[in-house]
């Protein structure tokens, strides 16, 4: 028993080792409801960390940029506990994450804002985050709020000539919210929502839901995570011929969907995500890096994860130290114009410009990533359809 205690304390102290390196806390929902969504996101974060350290590290001395990963489990309790440890025991300079809106808001209101630490979430899209702070400027996100994407999606559907559509949304914090924004926006623009029902995630069969909704329309707006029932609904719909046309958002945009359902069955499926226009230079740069490293370039929030990590590193480099107070203003400066455009992976180039006293403007893999006053990024979105067995994105103008 004593040996176990001694070993534990020793191991624990490894976690809190201080050095000149700069540490960033990375709480992600590694366990919990969406582990398969989060695994590639973690790979993207690690990839960014690798690039930064390979291209000279931080500051003149080439200090190490270190990601300290923790498990926020998409759960406020775990997130608060994980971030408490990251901030207090590991002494991180900023928080990169979490994934879920609930976890992000909880840890921000409970721990990081009171502690004065910057949070840059990789995927939280709740509209509540925009107006969360009063008097502080510490919460940012690299994914657009649902308030924008729902509207863009409604525009897209009307633009395709579809005037009536059924809606099915997974009853979780992301999908329920974006479904509501979509439904409201679509109705406002003159469309008709023929049916609007929630479904519980992770069920074995959605045939009855699909049958009931399918009777009302041939088009389905599907808001779900692919791994938590989204694929099942798609499958049940295709098996029974309930719907012929599908639209939806980030949660369904994964290679998994093509692998499991088959590209030939997905001819009329369009899903949107924060803009990764495959024509854009920043996305192509990202795709090259991602393919080389075996990271799925277009999976939900994966490019956002890379961008967020990269931006934090640039901000720290600009600030000149790992001082928590300096990061927020530096973050705005490197992310927004003016400045020389930096693409994903160009850390060495950015470092040189900053060392010479210049300005940079990071253009992200998931979109321009310019922060507004609330710390939100603007809603640029792309629509993806299946082309040659892969998702191909096209920017929505």
């Amino acid at each position: 028993m004593k040996k176990v205690l001694v070993l534990s304390v020793a191991a624990m102290s490894f976690a809190g080792v201080a050095s000149a390196d700069v540490k960033i806390g990375n709480p992600l929902a590694l366990t919990g409801p969406i582990p398969d969504l989060v695994a590639p996101m973690a790979l993207a974060v690690d990839l960014a960390e690798k690039h930064i350290n390979e291209q000279g590290g931080l500051f003149a001395g080439g200090e190490k940029f270190e990601i300290v990963r923790a498990d926020s489990a998409c759960d406020p309790v775990a997130a608060v506990d994980a971030v408490t440890k990251l901030i207090n025991v590991n002494g991180v300079a900023a928080i990169l994450g979490p994934v879920c809106s609930g976890a992000t808001i909880a840890q921000a209101e409970s721990v990081s804002i009171p502690a004065g630490v910057v949070t840059l979430s990789v995927a939280a899209s709740s509209p509540a985050i925009s107006t969360m702070e009063s008097g502080t400027d510490l919460v940012f996100r690299a994914a657009a709020s649902d308030a924008y994407q729902g509207v863009a999606l409604a525009d897209l559907v009307i633009g395709k000539g579809i005037n009536e559509i059924a809606v099915s949304y997974a009853n979780d914090d992301y999908n329920a919210a974006i479904a509501k924004v979509f439904a409201d926006s679509f109705t406002e623009k003159g469309g008709k929502i023929t049916a609007n029902e929630a479904h519980e995630p992770n069920k074995a069969s959605y045939r009855s839901e699909v049958a009931t909704l399918g009777g009302t329309s041939d088009n389905l707006a599907l808001f779900a995570y692919y791994g938590s029932g989204g694929i099942t609904i798609l499958r049940n719909s295709l098996e029974t011929g309930a719907f012929t046309s599908f639209i939806g958002a980030d949660g369904m945009l994964a290679q998994e969907v093509i692998d499991q359902i088959g590209a030939e069955n997905l001819t009329d499926a369009t899903f949107t995500t924060s803009a990764s226009d495959t024509e854009a230079k920043s996305f192509s740069a990202w795709k090259v890096l991602a393919d080389e490293a075996g990271v799925p370039a277009s999976d939900p929030f994966v490019p956002n994860s890379y961008d967020a990590t990269f931006m934090l590193a640039l901000a720290i480099e600009k600030a000149g130290s790992g001082d928590r107070d300096k990061i927020a203003p530096a973050l705005r400066e490197i992310a927004n114009a003016p400045g020389e455009v930096i693409l994903p992976g160009e850390f060495a180039k950015a470092k040189k410009i900053l060392a010479d006293g210049g300005d940079i403007h990071y253009a992200g893999a998931a979109g321009p990533q310019d922060f507004d006053d609330n710390g939100d990024v603007a809603g640029f979105f792309s629509q993806s359809t299946v082309v040659d067995g892969e998702w191909k994105a096209e920017l929505l103008k």
Binding site: A11, F14, V77, T84, P114
Partner: protein, 357 residues
């Protein structure tokens, strides 16, 4: 200096959350330790308390009902009442059920509570949850509190603002932790009094020798319902504290039975069931282990990485979370088998001649 402050703040958070769990464990001890009721729906009662508190004390919001902005103490009190009410209804229906059945019924009821909280979006904001929940002591720094009575009786708003600016950022954390610990202590003393009181002795008699108790004319069903309600009231209060600690609650993930209910049962069993001190010990101990195990495992992986620098630890880190659960689960099995009575065995009220001991 900063590092020490960091460790100190982490320790405070361990005391806070451990304390809240200890309160829940005390509540469970009333139900299980006193009355022998196998309640596996703990998460449901805590959720009811938390949501009541949140809805009553948060400011006006487009996302959910409320905006009543009632004082925090009123919110906590209301949390206790609603939780007790729900327990009363559940108890009236289910109390006659025997152990395994009661377990399954209470799980089912906790699930139904969760589904209601999730689907009644107009009231509770559904899966998005309720945020900006005011936290005791920290709430004083919020504008809507220091610009109104009773704080304005002491000083005006600008004085308060400069006062708070002069304190260290984390000044309220020790105060909040203290609030939790003091509440815990009060509940503990109250339960200890109850345990050695005639009511407490009767509960023990009912639990151990029910037919004899019935024969002696005791209304077993009513006593059981009482115990169930008292336990739930305590859990509701803990829910209000939890809501304050997290500042955001949601129906799906915050009150996950696999974590909350399971952890509390582990705490009670390991600490010593039927024993109030054991419940508290279990609460703190298991939470400490649960929280610190993440640091230990991460430290272990880092250690591993320094020796085997070529190995890609990406997969290890991703799966580390599951490893943690695996090890805790195995540890529980070990303790269950070696020390089935828990660390602190039950103290019989009659055996300890002096009730104050």
């Amino acid at each position: 200096m900063d590092e020490l402050t960091g460790y100190f703040l982490y320790f405070l958070s361990l005391l806070t959350v451990g304390g809240i769990y200890a309160i829940i464990a005390l509540g469970l001890n009333v139900q299980w330790g006193f009355a022998g009721l196998f309640n596996v729906g703990i998460a449901g009662f805590v959720a009811v308390g938390a949501y009541t508190y949140a809805l009553l004390t948060t400011a006006n919001s487009t996302f959910h009902y409320g905006g009543l902005e009632l004082p925090l103490a009123v919110g906590a009190f209301a949390a206790m009442i609603t939780s007790g009410l729900v327990a009363g209804i559940v108890g009236l229906i289910c109390i006659r059920l025997r152990s395994d059945y009661l377990a399954i019924a209470t799980i089912g009821i906790a699930e139904i509570i969760k589904l209601i909280l999730k689907n009644e979006t107009d009231v509770t904001n559904g899966p998005r949850g309720i945020n900006k929940i005011p936290r005791a002591w920290e709430h004083l720094t919020e504008e809507r509190f220091y610009t109104n009575a009773p704080m304005t009786w002491i000083a005006d708003a600008t004085t308060w603002q400069s006062f708070f600016a002069s304190l260290p950022r984390w000044w309220w954390q020790p105060m909040f932790a203290l609030t939790v610990l003091v509440s815990l202590y009060i509940i503990y003393r109250a339960l200890e009094q109850a345990r050695v009181s005639p009511w407490g002795r009767m509960m023990t008699a009912i639990r151990e020798r029910e037919p004899a108790a019935r024969a002696a004319g005791k209304n077993v069903t009513n006593r059981r319902i009482e115990a169930f309600i008292v336990g739930a009231v305590i859990m509701g209060f803990a829910g209000a504290l939890f809501a304050q600690h997290l500042r955001l609650i949601d129906p799906t993930n915050t009150f996950d039975p696999a974590k909350m209910t399971f952890l509390v049962w582990v705490m009670l069993i390991i600490g010593g069931s039927g024993n109030n001190r054991g419940a508290m010990l279990g609460g703190f101990l298991i939470w400490f282990i649960w929280s610190a195990s993440e640091l230990v495992i991460n430290g272990g992986i880092d250690l591993f990485r320094t020796f085997f620098t070529t190995v890609d630890v990406g997969i290890l880190r991703t799966r580390a979370g599951f490893l943690r659960m695996l090890l805790i689960g195995l540890a529980l099995q070990f303790i269950l088998q070696r020390y089935p009575n828990g660390i602190l065995p039950e103290a019989r009220p009659a055996a300890s001649g002096n009730p104050k001991k």
